[in-house]
Amino acid sequence: MLSATIEAQLRELRLSLDLEVAAGSCLALVGPSGAGKSSVLRAVAGLLRPRKGRIECDGETWLDRARGVELPPERRRCGYVFQDYALFGHMSVWRNVAYGLGLARGERRAAALELLERFGIAALADAAPATLSGGERQRVALARALASRPRALLLDEPLAALDARTRTTATRELAHLLSDAGVPAILVTHDFAEAITLADTVAVIEAGRIVQRGAPDQLAARPASAFVAEVTGSVVLAGSAVAAVGGGSEIRLDGGGLLASTDPAPAPGEPPPAAGHPEGSPVAVSVHPWEIALEAADSPVHGSQRNRLPGTVSSVATIGSRVRVGVDVGQPLVAEVTHSSRDALGLRPGAGVVAVWKASATRVVPR
Amino acid sequence: GASDDRPRLIVSAASSLTEAFSAYGEGLPEDVRFSFGGSDELAAQIRQGATPDVFASASTSYPEELAADGLVGEPVVFAANQLVLIVAPGEQTTTLGDLLLRRDVDLVIGAAGVPVGDYTREVIDRLGPQTAANVLANVRSEESDVKGVVGKVAQGAADAGFVYATDAAAAGDAVKTIRLPPNLEPRVAYSAAVVEGAVDPARAQAFIDGLLEGPGADELADAGFLPAPAAGSAGGG
């Protein structure tokens, strides 16, 4: 169990958050570049001194600025995988792995080799890090981080430096490893898909604060902000909302068009109503691409699908069993449809279509 | 030589004494260490607090000034030298008059304040204002010690320079020597003194005594130095 409350001023960025990770589970920190993700890891590892804060791991206090407690990094012993792996270039692979082992001279190599064996790279023991491929480097970095039986695992975008091909395999291996390690793990990523695969809980961090946390499904289903919606892969459209007569809300889109949602319009209070926005409070509307169906431009209105936006196809991409169709409806939007609807509608760039989805699939979030 | 157990004697001496003193030092029972340089420079070092055991100058003025300030003991004049003109071995003109009258001669002299420079100016002044102006117009460089002057001529960088007879002799074939007529020759007197704060003043005094009579005097004579003029009457620039 790792718990941390951190407050730090990083140049312009004010980092202020708290988090908690149980042993054997993995928390993913997702967020844009510069949000402070790496800084959180560094604070936990002891490489950055927060202005205020408390960090505890397994009942031991690592940091308590109020009480003046501060363990140096070498006594916290986090297994840290840096974004670029930070393998020591002047040491061979096995020496990198052995670096954290507090063993006698004679036993170090054997112990390092055993670990490398587990990662299937014993053959590389004497290689220089610079000669390794990205995937091999990642494995060495993991082996090194695990060598000293860390009390927590901190992984800073461990997959970002890999090419798409290696990444698939590496992700799978990492998932195994995290479940085996049995210590709290924090994974930094800016890829939501990666977070889904590897983590139990996702915390979305923006400008130094956690804007939402929860299971990946929860975040996708109920994004707390336009940003979270976008991160989870939803289509996000900007507009302004007013409360609808029969409950729910109505949203006037910035580029034109009217949408309905079963969500209420944001409470009149924050953001302040009326005044600057006589037509409602500014909101973002989010909808999953797979909730959006496409119909021919001239098809009649039918069924329960209350939201209908006419537009022009801008791109068509077939990815496996799905077809992702970009549609310009004043604002850009992506629909995910099946091969058969692509063929039936004759979807090509330039074709006119209507994007259709339910009011109940339409989330209204502040922006 | 390398350091050994013999008592050590440190001697600051004018550059022009290099060969004679080195030979003298070899034969002494002490481990003698020399610092050869411009007399003015060595005097300045003593003013800055350097404490060699003996100071030997190419003029009498520096030791006297230092003695007046209590930095060295009573100076003793121990040798005399001659000023000569040296030219590069390939030089065609070999008489003083011809050289001094030519316009295209690159002449190197000692800087003012350096004994050799002061003696040189004394000589030039005696040539009369017209010739003196001519000669000074030919000066290309004012060196901070005799070695600089010899080096420039030996290297062929300059055509001629005023140095001591002993330096000219020490340079061997690298330069040709032109003696000055007696009426121009300055009185070059060398004096030495025991420095205040010397480790063993008696030993230092013995070194100076040896210059007046004994092995030091012999080495000086071998190197071409003249015996000291009557004690106490020596002047100099």
Binding site: - | V114, R140, S141
Partner: protein, 273 residues
């Protein structure tokens, strides 16, 4: 206990820095301390000192102009091209940094003096260097240029090669790329190299005295005058030394001000590791 165990290393580091700093600044501070404002002002009335200062500024400026003009393209070539013998060339260019100045003077005499290797050829062209202000410029250029070349080369090497590629694809010739992209991008390093080279030129003594001699107003630069004044008029020497140090320091400082901030870790104050 823990506190003690943690603190000794930073203390060692701080101690080392304080020691180094004190050692390097006290002697320079002492000059100003001993010189005193009176002597400083007096020395500005000393004609020999003024002549020397003037000559130093003139010759070092010309030397710097030559160094920048030739050195900049030469350094660019070394930084951007790989060729056989490149490492040898770099070592040869660094060598003058470690050759004693007096030896440089002897070498210059042996190479460019009237009796030197190229002396005859230069003489035929009517070029005289020994005892001439031009000779001072040659000596200064020789001792100062490696400082500039080193810095310029590494400044050019630090430029992202894709900047140069981008410039080319945008229609700029290699020469335009050099002038419009490479030089501005390397400006910080070029300026700091300029300052170092200028400082070295202002302080040059041994090569100048051996190669060019010492004559007031023609070849007697400030360091030569200082050594001459050292024995005759210590206060004036001290004052001239102080002025020279001040000029050098001003050069360094000016350049630091002009140089673009490129320190990637600037402003980070809270890192522990």
């Amino acid at each position: 206990m823990a506190g003690l165990r943690l603190r000794w290393f930073p203390l060692v580091l701080t101690g080392a820095l304080v020691l180094a700093l004190a050692f390097l600044t006290v002697p320079i501070a002492a000059i100003f301390f001993e010189a005193g404002p009176r002597q400083l002002i007096d020395s500005l009335g000393n004609e020999q000192a003024l002549d020397a200062l003037r000559l130093s500024l003139l010759t070092s400026s010309i030397a710097l102009a030559l160094i920048l003009l030739i050195g900049t393209p030469a350094a660019y070539l070394l930084a951007t091209r790989r060729f056989r013998g490149r490492n040898l060339v770099i070592t040869l260019i660094e060598l003058p940094l470690v050759v004693p100045p007096a030896v440089v003077g002897i070498g210059l005499l042996a190479a460019l003096g009237p009796g030197g290797l190229l002396g005859g050829a230069l003489g035929d062209l009517g070029i005289e260097l020994v005892f001439q202000t031009a000779g001072v410029v040659v000596a200064l250029t020789f001792v100062a240029s490696p400082f500039y070349l080193r810095q310029a080369q590494s400044a050019f090497e630090a430029i992202d090669p894709s900047w140069l590629g981008a410039s080319r694809t945008l229609g700029a010739s290699e020469a335009r790329t050099f002038l419009r992209v490479a030089i501005p991008a390397a400006m910080g390093g070029l300026l700091s190299g300029t300052a170092l080279a200028w400082g070295r030129a202002l302080g040059e003594f041994g090569a100048t005295i051996v190669f060019a001699g010492s004559f007031q107003g023609i070849t007697q630069t400030a360091p030569l005058a200082i050594l001459e004044l050292f024995s005759s008029d210590f206060d004036a020497a001290l004052a001239l030394a102080a002025v020279l140090v001040a000029v050098s320091a001003a050069l360094l400082a000016t350049v630091k001000l002009f140089a673009p901030r490129t320190d990637p870790r600037a402003g980070e104050t809270i890192t522990v590791a």
